[in-house]
């Protein structure tokens, strides 16, 4: 790369230009710093052109801080506005490949320093601009044409900043509107496999990671930089069931990454083949069989849920990278998903939240459900929860009646099912269940029950089957 006055290599990424060795500082905590990538029609771009508005490097005073904006225009047959942010993320990488140039942060918080050594080798930002664009076109060959404008004049930077803020706002609105069906690729994360070896975290636009830290965009960015790293692409494959969020590609990955432990993960299901739970989820959901509803408790909540258990006990039950029917770990952001446990009734199934969590996610709760969901301030146990739900006419109450009728008809069958269903939970989960009622495997619906035993080791000390006597 001898055509450039400084060396270019990924080796320089992370290079720190200290104050003592710095010629000038651009943007940063003390000034304005902006970077923006825009997709433009091919005929509006003069390929390789660098424009400088304001003082150039040679006109700058040593040791000073200057405002800074860089606007890249990119074009190409495959370049579309949706790619702007993907391209923009690489600005950080490519600038850092340049020796003696430190680039930090992103968007409207950009902070750069040019070292004395590098500044001594050039009097203009032009070779720097050309180097960065060369890197872009080499690494992202779908960019056919590219030009850049650097602004160092305060008024100009302010003007660019104001325009850019509107662009970022529109872009964020678009990203917030992205759903599972709009993309072909989801992302997996195996960071938690160090302590939950069979955990398979699947991150889709409508489902944030369980820890809440990784969304679909983070997955996409990380997988692009290091496809072999802890975050990687999952081709979503064929949509098997839209309601439960079942995809052939996700199932394949689930099987592979759990070493055959599971063969299915349904992204938006609570009961059937739910997402695995690692241990670092922000919130854990728990089924309350007595009301056929689901409660959620967050890590910060210190008290007990109506089932008499706290977060840590339930987290202990749920964690470890298993599919535990009756419990589900999620990231808080998932409450905002339009597909939030849609396989099992979504918000209509939610009966209890700690008040602090309910306040935090207030916006996510549908208006007609807000006063129907109890908190620790309304109820303290199952009985009071039942009364509360009945009073508020919560949608789950309608299921109670239906179930009661069924019960009468199928009394004897249920007896059998209960005997089988109760011990089945334990070996599957790999540990003792706490003292709580057995969890029925069915979710309210009518008809029979399907029991699938896989790899199950069942020990039953004693089993007594006798005729049921009416207690009156």
């Amino acid at each position: 790369m001898s055509e450039f006055p400084f060396e270019i290599s990924p080796m320089f990424e992370g290079e720190r230009v200290r104050k003592e060795g710095m010629f000038v500082e651009l943007g940063g905590p003390k000034s304005l710093g902006l970077e923006l990538v825009r997709a433009k029609p091919m005929d509006e771009i003069e390929d390789g052109k660098v424009t400088i508005v304001g003082p150039d490097l040679k006109d700058m005073e040593e040791g000073k801080t200057y405002p800074w904006a860089m606007i890249f225009h990119v074009g190409g047959e495959l370049v579309e506005p949706d790619l702007e942010s993907v391209i923009e993320r690489r600005v950080h990488d490519f600038i850092n490949y340049c020796q003696g140039i430190m680039h930090l942060n992103q968007r409207y918080d950009v902070w750069m320093r040019i070292s004395k050594d590098t500044a001594a080798k050039m009097d203009s930002f032009e070779p720097f601009g050309k180097a960065v664009m060369m890197l872009f076109k080499t690494e992202l060959p779908f960019i056919e044409k590219m030009q850049v404008t650097f602004y160092t004049d305060q008024a100009e930077v302010e003007k660019q900043m104001a325009e850019a803020m509107e662009i970022f706002k529109a872009r964020d609105a678009r990203t917030k509107d992205l759903h599972d069906e709009d993309v072909d690729v989801f992302y997996g994360c195996t960071l938690c496999q160090s302590f939950a070896p069979t955990n398979v975290c699947v991150v889709s636009p409508d489902r944030v990671s369980l820890c809440g830290a990784i969304n679909w965009f983070d997955g996409r960015a990380a997988a692009k930089v290091d496809p072999e790293g802890p975050q990687f692409a999952i081709e979503k494959g064929e949509l098997l069931d839209a309601k439960t969020g079942e995809y052939s590609g996700v199932n394949e990955v689930a099987k592979k990454l759990s070493s055959g432990e599971f063969d299915k993960i349904k992204l938006h299901s609570f009961f059937d083949a739910p997402h695995t739970s690692c241990g670092c989820f922000e919130v854990v959901g728990f089924y309350i069989p007595e009301v056929d509803g689901i409660g959620w408790v967050n890590r910060e909540y210190q008290g007990m849920a109506p089932n008499g258990l706290g977060f840590s006990t339930m987290a202990g039950q749920t964690g470890g990278g298993k599919q535990i029917v009756g419990f589900l770990g999620i990231g808080i952001n998932y409450f905002y998903s339009p597909k939030f446990i849609q396989a099992d009734g979504g918000w209509n199934r939610v009966v209890w939240l700690p008040s602090m969590l309910k306040e935090k996610i207030d916006e996510a709760i549908p208006d007609d459900m807000k006063d129907k969901i109890a908190t620790e301030k309304d109820v303290t146990d199952i009985e009071s929860l039942k009364t509360f739900l009945k009073e508020k006419n919560h949608p789950v109450v309608a299921n109670w009646a239906a179930e009661a009728e069924e019960e009468e008809e199928e009394e004897e069958e249920e007896e059998e099912v209960a005997a089988e269903a109760a011990p089945m939970m334990m070996p599957a989960a790999g540990f003792q269940m706490p003292a709580m009622p057995a969890m029925p495997m069915m979710s309210g619906g009518a008809g029979g029950i399907k029991l699938t035993f896989k790899n199950a080791k069942i020990t039953i000390d004693r089993m007594i089957i006798s005729e049921k006597k009416e207690k009156k």
Partner: protein, 253 residues
């Protein structure tokens, strides 16, 4: 290649003082150096004459709060570049060396992702320097989390007590359990007097600990401590400073 040296030991043995003396000596010798305070009790900055430092712990909390917001304003933000920026921002630029303070332990949420980002940032940051000196608590938490992955030399500082040496022994066992890459383990005995010198040499031999230095009890250090003068200003000819010179040679500088 960057040489990474971690200094640890039981509380009160003077490990931070030893770290400060090593930083002082090596940076005077012209080594470009990063000092890392990886003890939640953060005494190193003060010992080096630096106050009011921001910590990596605070930065982690900031990012953690930002990214686990129920509704992020900008779901597409580049978290790695933001974290890196914040870490680079809090690096204290001291004359001839940089100082980074790890600070408070993390909160109750899941830090896997943030720590994973931090690991990558630290890996690259470290390559900027000739030497990294880490003042680490005896539990070696940052190493078990692999925030700093590879250590060339682990120095356990002990005072002239049997318990101090036992800590050294335990740390050696702990290191074997961690799957971090730790090159060599050395011991420095601190606050040594003529009365206990022979005894300590024998104790180290019995425990098969590689002792690379014995720093005498230095009245100058005690005096500076009481007056609140940063240890960094210790005169070159004080007995502790002289011993540090010999230790640095034994470390192969």
């Amino acid at each position: 290649m960057t040489r990474v040296i971690a200094i640890t030991g039981k509380g009160g043995t003077g490990k931070t003082a030893v770290a400060a003396l090593l930083i002082r000596y090596l940076s005077k010798k012209g080594k470009f150096l990063l000092a890392v305070d990886a003890d939640a009790d953060t005494n190193l900055p003060e010992t080096l004459g630096c106050e009011d430092v921001k910590t990596v712990g605070e930065v982690k909390e900031y990012l953690q709060a930002e990214i686990t917001k129920p509704k992020p304003d900008n779901p597409d933000m580049n978290k790695e570049s933001i974290l890196k920026s914040k870490v680079y921002e809090i690096i204290e630029e001291m004359p001839g060396y940089d100082l980074l303070v790890m600070g408070r332990p993390e909160g109750s949420g899941c830090y896997c992702y943030v720590n994973n980002l931090l690991r990558g940032i630290m890996d690259k940051l470290i390559t900027n320097y000739d030497v990294v000196i880490i003042d680490a608590e005896a539990g070696l938490e940052h190493f078990s989390r692999k925030i700093i992955r590879d250590i060339d030399d682990l120095i356990v500082v002990t005072d002239a007590s049997r318990r101090g040496f036992r800590t050294a022994e335990r740390i050696r066992e702990l290191v074997e359990e961690l799957d971090s890459n730790i090159g060599r383990i050395h011991v420095i005995a601190n606050k040594v007097t003529d009365a206990n010198r022979e005894e300590l040499i024998k104790l180290a031999e019995d425990l098969k600990l590689n002792m690379i230095g014995m720093i005498p009890l230095d009245p100058k250090i005690e005096e500076m401590d009481i007056k609140g003068i940063p240890l960094f200003k210790i005169p070159d000819d004080s007995i502790a400073a002289v011993e540090i010179e010999s230790i640095v040679k034994k470390l192969g500088f």
